[in-house]
């Protein structure tokens, strides 16, 4: 029989010893059947003799242990834990069987003998003793516990507790508020009172914006602090960037005409001078002209060529938040809830019917159109959305991701999320529905954005410093309520809650929010340094990347100038002189939402299509503009995210990770060589006699997860690699009523008859 259940990994360590920056409380001895609790975490209820299902078939194997509900998580502690194998990413704050309460989508209790089933909410009663508990998680896991051997009353209590505690009445009741308060006081003195090693700009102070203005060469734009203390707009950040020609007074006066007082604010500048701007709708349509006359000329003035401004109304051309939510629910259903075999039959059309990929494509397509305007047409673009807090976040960040290689580095990407999502007032609290209060506000916009990023990454695998594992882990972090990033609806809301929080927890005034309630970007909160190396893309061609040219090792170094030259490129529209210069001058100052069709050689082709076709006819430069191919055949389902828990879809010792494994090993070897070479050169120059050995200091900071193999160590992919790596389907997707032997996955569409007729009967 071939192995369908995971072949027992023979563990080979590729990791240097784990950094011991982990808190002592987390590392309790393994034998005890006690929960690992974080500071401030308390056990609410628990029940013994529970069986956790490990596969879809409930009659099959399982893990016995204790089920616990705390004020932070649902925890399962196996009585006899199988020797843990390092075949997955290990979270520093959550065990293999833990689920944060915020990650629960639905809590379902079942009584099989009575044939009853109930979805539990907050403060509810349960009239039967559950024989089973099924937890549907926001990260797409489905976890199942059996209570057949457990005390019925305690089982019931735990179920009710889980349901109750996963519906917190108010935001400060989320465990992060308890945890971070304790953590702050406990670790005081050990910490230098600044932003620590956090290299990601947060955009909560003018200097972050200033640096961004300088980096992009946006000399005609300035940081403006009229919204200090959120005096003007409740959802904009305190510091915004506006055209230099607009005075504070002007901005204040006109802000009242915009929804939420969200005036046009600057996002990014193209080296050619075009700017990307975002704004809310104008609340009073009668004021449209007034606004047009104030803001549009100012934005035009901030363009070195005074070129026209084009406004794109996203509400009119993209799906809304409810569309997205319903598409996500459907695609999740097909990927993890429906029976594998049944959904297999009409898989492609089912995926199409969810419309998720269609929406992904629509957002990418619209963003690419904006890229054309900024890059190909040299015009500034205003993204407009009713509230400027949802669709604008997606499009503005995608446009920047395509145009500016800086945002494809890890720190750059995080700063992009910070700038266009967190500080721009995306309602993470409502969209994530952390309080489970208002289902109609829930919408997976950030998830949609991550999927779009993945699509670009899938087409340009060397263009990003980070991996799809990073994107997946980032999406999972939304459901862990310990970081300030995804907990609030706006910077103002965050400021308010954290002020109260600081007061309640006796945190001194003036202490930096980032210190007492850190964002997700400090990844050492969740993963060891060694595990974080899974975020690094070995293929990345970044600034200063070495390459071989004519047998010589060279370094790509990009000065600002060459960067602008490549981004600007030479485009057909400019070359052919087809840009209607006078025309746009004449229309300057008016909002244009329609493009004038250019003359073009190719029939039925819009200027942007022409621009894209031109671009695709040249080899792509990873450190420059990137446009994804948007033909439907070239967009794919993000398998790692959607299928990582599905055991039937797991390829053992296969999948893209096996290529990543080899790349990672090779890059590790290259980095060791580089370090040797550097030390040689250092020796030469200083005249020192210290010569490098193989166990140099670099070994502790190696960037690659898989280390270069030695001769004794065969280079074949380790047995624990699967297409789900670094996640594991085992015990994480136990749908109900899915029966079938493991072989059935291979027999799809085939029937078997055992025949009594053997070839013996043939006249041999």
């Amino acid at each position: 029989m071939f192995s369908v259940k995971p072949t027992k990994p023979t563990f080979r360590s590729y990791l240097p010893p784990v950094q011991t920056d982990v808190k002592k409380t987390i590392e309790s001895p393994p034998k005890k059947v006690e929960p690992k609790l974080l500071q401030g975490e308390i056990v609410v209820n628990e029940v013994n003799f529970v069986r956790k299902c490990l596969s879809a078939d409930s009659s099959q194997e399982g893990l016995w242990g204790k089920l616990i509900c705390t004020n932070f998580k649902v925890s399962f502690i196996p009585t006899d834990p199988p020797s843990e194998q390092k075949s997955h990413l290990s979270h520093l704050l959550l065990g293999l069987h833990d689920i944060p309460l915020t990650c629960l989508e639905q809590v379902v209790t079942v009584n099989d003998t009575k044939g009853k089933k109930k979805v539990l909410g907050s403060n509810q009663k349960l009239k039967f003793n559950p024989t089973e508990l099924i937890l549907y998680c926001k990260d797409l896991r489905i976890i199942r516990f059996c209570f057949v051997e457990a005390g019925p009353e305690s089982a019931k209590k735990v179920c009710l507790a889980i349901a109750h505690y996963s519906h917190p009445a108010d935001l400060p009741l989320l465990f992060g508020f308890e945890y971070q308060g304790r953590r702050y006081h406990d670790s005081k003195g050990q910490r230098v009172n600044d932003r620590g090693g956090l290299r990601t700009p947060i955009f909560d102070r003018p200097s972050d914006w200033d640096r961004e203005i300088k980096r992009t060469g946006a000399s005609e734009w300035r940081v403006c602090s009229i919204n200090e203390n959120y005096a003007i707009s409740p959802s904009l950040p305190e510091h915004i960037v506006v055209p230099v020609s607009l005075a504070d007074q002007d901005l204040k006066q006109n802000s009242i005409y915009f929804m939420n007082q969200r005036i046009p604010v600057w996002c990014w500048n193209h080296p050619n001078g075009s700017a990307l701007v975002r704004m809310a709708s104008i609340a009073d349509p009668l004021q449209q002209r007034r606004i047009d006359q104030r803001f549009i000329p100012a934005i035009t003035k901030s363009h070195p060529q005074r070129s026209e401004v084009i406004r794109s109304d996203l509400d009119k051309c993209l799906p809304n938040i409810q569309d997205l939510q319903s598409a996500f629910i459907k695609i999740r259903h097909i990927c993890v809830i429906d029976s594998f075999e049944e959904s297999e039959e009409r898989w492609l059309s089912s995926i199409e019917n969810t419309r998720w990929l269609e929406y992904v494509r629509a957002f990418l397509k619209h963003s690419a159109e904006m890229v054309y305007l900024l890059d190909g047409k040299n015009t500034s673009v205003i993204l407009q959305e009713e509230e400027d807090r949802d669709l604008n976040c997606v499009v503005s960040s995608l446009v920047q991701l395509m145009l500016d290689p800086h945002y494809r580095s890890l720190v750059g990407f995080q700063s992009l999320v910070q700038k266009e999502w967190v500080m721009a007032g995306h309602r993470f609290l409502d969209r994530c529905n952390h309080l489970k209060k208002n289902d109609k506000d829930e919408s997976p916009l950030f998830m949609l954005f991550l999927d779009c990023v993945w699509q670009v990454m899938n087409q340009y695998p060397a263009a990003f410093e980070f991996t799809e594992t990073y994107l997946t882990v980032l999406s999972d972090s939304m459901w862990i309520p310990l970081f300030s990033t995804f907990l609030f609806n706006s910077p103002k809301q965050r400021a308010q809650y954290l002020m109260d929080f600081a007061k309640n927890k006796a945190i001194p005034q003036g202490e930096d929010q980032l210190v007492y309630f850190p964002p997700v970007w400090d990844w050492s909160q969740q993963y060891s340094t060694a595990d974080q190396t899974l975020f690094n893309n070995p293929m990345f061609v970044g600034k200063g990347a070495a390459c071989v040219q004519n047998g010589e090792v060279k370094t790509f170094r990009r000065t600002k100038k060459t960067y602008s030259a490549t981004v600007r490129g030479t485009h057909a529209s400019l070359r052919n002189g087809q840009k209607g210069g006078e025309d746009s001058l004449a229309r300057r100052g008016s909002l244009l939402s329609e493009l004038k069709p250019d003359f073009s050689l190719v029939k039925d082709e819009s200027p942007s299509e022409r621009f894209f076709r031109d671009w695709f006819s040249r080899p792509a430069d990873q450190q420059s503009l990137l446009i994804p191919l948007l033909i439907p055949s070239h967009l794919a389902l993000w398998k790692l995210y959607f299928l990582r828990w599905v055991p039937e879809a797991c390829i053992f010792k296969g999948g893209p990770i096996t290529a990543y494994h080899k790349l990672s090993q090779l890059v590790d070897e290259i980095e060791i060589l580089q370090s040797h070479l550097r030390q040689y050169k250092g020796t030469r120059e200083s005249g020192s006699t210290q010569l490098p050995g193989l166990s140099g200091p670099f070994s502790s900071q190696r960037r690659m997860y898989f280390k270069a193999s030695s001769l004794q160590d065969p280079p074949s992919p380790p047995d624990f690699l699967t297409s789900s790596f670094p996640f594991t389907p085992s015990g994480n997707l136990c749908r109900r009523s899915t029966y079938g032997t493991p072989i059935s996955k291979f027999l799809n569409g085939a029937r078997i008859w055992l025949s009594t007729e053997t070839l013996d009967n043939d006249p041999l």
Partner: protein
């Protein structure tokens, strides 16, 4: 300036045509076309290519006994088309002398390799008559008493690909004959079965006499012989497994539907359901899951008799895919060639009938893309196991191009007996080409793991449309010779080697320096850099 329509030439010397310099345009338009040895010009003519992606392009067409070549004569349109005549399925006249509308009079060419071409000519003086007749004649030489180009080609290669597969060597590699299986020569003159090879491995207990009697009962004398050649209990205790794999006609229609949704343009609005309605991936899945069952049975110690009605279509697919899963040797570049020679060419897959080489009867019901489907299955496996195959996607593309091109003798004829010895002596094997430039077909990620059995996941969740084959003519898609991941890995390998070289140089110079200054006692020269390696 319009962007060039990508030139993809499946000819062995593709590189020669890929660049079109402006200078050559000023000179004789077709002067830079270098023909293959043995290739002869038939006709050239001014013509308009009615490009489905673009507008119509004026230019010149050249027809040889091997190819149809078109080149734009418009200064701002750099474009060329290069189509082996063997890839042409059908040539039709389009419009008449009195047809209205621009470019309505000309030729319509349907190709076997997922594209169609339309050419327009001047509507006067029967301008298309000569070109139509000549194209028709040379595109379908067998229907006109002409030889296939494989017999005209004078191309020489360093290696003779006909020697890649030697049946006795291959039996020996598998440890045959042994106590259970013996090698028989009863079919030496194709007298038992004319579609089987001359050397067969059969169970020890079956006497040649018996085999002859069995042959009389089986379709066309095709007795059970070793597929994988794996040991087991002869044919006893066999279990019959029926797989729901559709017949050759269904497969043909399925690929036709697929072509409809990808050429010239990809169906935009309902892509996935359109793709589903072609059933192409579903068929691929059924073939793969059938092969998985075969492989599973064999690896758990059972012998498997694989059969379909005749034993040369689905049987060939299932045995060869199962062997690819079970035996890592077949996943090497040369091993894969042996697999194709053995399970497809030698065991009598009717290439001539299924492909219709040089035959004008485009509606022949015997035609079917069975081999294309097999290569697609192999591609799906390479996608699921990026490090398990020594060869890359480019090899699979080359194989499919020459399945049609008639440039090589490899895929000609229906079986060994029809193939006779002239093919080997008078034509070149495709493997001669492949093995003379192996480096471009190697997968840099390949990690040999002998003995490893590969079980792909035959699920719609993992099966993908092979866009680099089926959608390669679309100019909106950047044509890449290599996957970006592969390309990056190669760059990194080069970088590693460069560093290694530098380090070695430094080590040498510093050790000589140290030798000159014997006073520096505290230092030890670094160990020669040998401890780390990333094998190819």
């Amino acid at each position: 300036m319009a962007s060039p329509v990508s030139v993809y030439s499946p000819t062995p010397m593709a590189d020669r045509f890929s660049s079109t310099s402006r200078e050559s345009l000023k000179m004789e338009l077709l002067a830079d076309v270098s023909l293959l040895p043995g290739e002869e010009r038939i006709i050239d003519k001014d013509i308009i290519y009615v490009c489905p992606f673009n507008r119509a392009v004026k230019g010149k067409v050249l027809i040889t006994n091997y190819r149809l070549y078109f080149k734009s004569s418009e200064a701002d349109v750099v474009m060329a088309l290069d189509v082996p005549l063997g890839a042409i399925c059908r040539v039709e006249k389009m419009g008449g002398a009195s047809s209205r509308g621009e470019n309505s009079y000309g030729l319509e060419i349907t190709c076997k390799d997922m594209r169609n071409l339309r050419f327009a000519l001047k509507q006067e003086g029967h301008s298309r008559r000569d070109i139509f007749e000549l194209l028709f004649k040379h595109a379908f030489p067998l229907s006109h008493g002409l030889p296939l180009f494989a017999y005209m080609s004078q191309e020489k290669y360093g290696e003779n690909g006909w020697n890649i597969y030697k049946p006795m060597d291959e039996f020996r590699r598998q440890g045959l004959p042994n106590s259970k299986w013996r090698v028989t020569f009863i079919n030496n003159n194709y007298e038992v079965c004319d579609t089987y090879p001359t050397i067969l491995a059969v169970p020890v207990k079956s006497k040649d006499e018996d085999l002859r009697r069995v042959a009389a009962f089986r379709s066309r004398g095709r007795i059970p012989a070793t597929g994988g050649g794996y040991e087991g209990d002869e044919y006893q205790n066999a279990e019959l497994v029926f797989l729901d794999i559709q017949n050759i006609h269904v497969m043909r229609e399925s690929l036709k539907k697929l072509k409809d949704i990808v050429y010239p343009n990809v169906e935009e609005s309902h892509w996935l359901s359109s793709l589903e309605s072609t059933h192409w991936l579903e068929h691929v899945k059924l073939v793969l899951s059938g092969a998985i069952q075969v492989a599973d049975k064999v690896s758990s110690g059972n012998s498997v008799v694989v059969h379909c009605s005749d034993g040369w279509d689905r049987t060939a697919q299932l045995t060869s895919l199962a062997m690819l899963m079970l035996d890592s040797h077949y996943r090497t570049l040369r091993g894969f060639q042996v697999l194709i020679e053995k399970e497809w060419i030698s065991f009598g897959h009717k290439f001539a009938s299924r492909i219709g080489h040089g035959d004008k009867n485009h509606a022949d019901q015997d035609r079917s893309p069975i081999f294309v489907q097999f290569i697609d299955c192999v591609w799906q496996m390479t996608k699921q196991f990026p490090t398990a195959f020594e060869f890359n996607e480019r090899l699979l593309l080359t194989i499919l191009d020459h399945l049609y091109s008639c440039c090589f003798g490899t895929f000609l004829y229906n079986c060994e007996s029809a193939r006779d010895q002239h093919v080997r002596s008078k034509t070149v094997s495709l493997w001669s080409l492949v093995n003379s430039r192996m480096e471009i077909y190697l997968n840099p990620f390949y990690t040999p793991e002998s003995g490893r059995v590969l079980y792909p996941v035959a699920s719609m969740r993992h099966l993908e449309l092979w866009v680099t084959y089926y959608i390669r003519w679309n100019p909106r898609i950047r044509q890449q010779q290599q996957s970006p991941v592969e390309q990056r890995y190669m760059e990194l390998l080069a970088l590693r080697d460069e560093y290694l070289k530098k380090l070695e140089e430094l080590q040498q110079s510093s050790s000589s320096r140290l030798a000159n200054t014997p006073n520096t006692t505290s230092s030890t020269p670094p160990q020669p850099y040998t401890e780390l390696h990333t094998p190819l």
